[in-house]
Symmetry: C2
Subunit: 138 residues, 2 copies
DNA sequence: GTGTTTGCAAAGTGTTTGCAATTTA
DNA sequence: TAAATTGCAAACACTTTGCAAACAC
């Protein structure tokens, strides 16, 4: 499943995004950008980093997740239960949110078709369209 | 703009939804269900209630907004900035979220067209589809 | 070296909860 | 009167911030 095994893949990825590749950021990048797309909260990233023997404070995790998001390496998913979920898949796609399990899943972007999106008002552009299909127990 | 001026409109509205019409709930209902659709945070509802000389604690505002939501009188909009926004319009419709002003606006449900929504897995049904069009500065 | 980043702890938000006092039916 | 609801304050969960020490270039 992994792609791009190059030795300096992660440093370049960060540099290209204008982010200085510190030890902590490389550790975070290693666990986020391993080729497998994921949805993770800051808390989960922090726990995973510690499990990997990378000592990164939670504050630094938050700071860097936001920095990665600003740089377009991550995307924040608006699930609505008042906690930030970061998605390593930054391409246009939708989500299902299972209210029973609390899990988020990707839906290929062509699984739904959205048409007739209204024109934004003067001085604004459509940054993106968030579509979340909420699933409940039958 | 107001509709249904009947004297016991709000008590009936709550009773019909299986909610006991207490003084506080009636005050909240009066300010929420006046015929003008709104998007409000708990904090905003609380402030407005106090401005109207209704003494309702913030905790009670939260409790009742959730109760109203569970009863289908309100809907929670997943804007994603880690705070709950309640919408008095419970019909199928979408939103634009202006990242510059922080304001939420309704879009008539027929302004966008969503097709090919995938079938939910066994034991689940589509509760609803949340669509938020995020607008940024040009 | 110089400016950036980190870690920690502390403060800040927004939200929920426990429980005695009150209110509703 | 019995059961539900309220208010308050305290607890809670998540996130951000201030600043000295550590690090990258």
């Amino acid at each position: 499943m992994r792609r791009h095994h190059g030795k300096n893949r992660l440093p370049s990825l960060l540099l290209t995004s204008g982010i200085r590749p510190t030890r902590q950021r490389l550790a975070l990048a290693a666990l986020l950008f391993d080729g497998v797309k994921k949805h993770m909260t800051a808390e989960q990233v922090h726990a995973l980093a510690r499990r990997n023997r990378a000592h990164i404070s939670l504050a630094t995790v938050y700071n860097n997740l936001h920095q990665f998001t600003a740089a377009g390496l991550l995307r924040e998913v608006p699930v609505g239960h008042n906690r930030s979920v970061f998605d390593t898949n930054t391409e246009a796609h939708c989500h299902t949110f299972d209210e029973v399990t609390g899990l988020l899943h990707d839906i290929p972007s062509d699984a739904v078709h959205l048409s007739r999106v209204p024109k934004p008002p003067m001085g604004r552009k459509v940054a993106r369209v968030d579509i979340v299909i909420r699933l409940a127990a039958v």
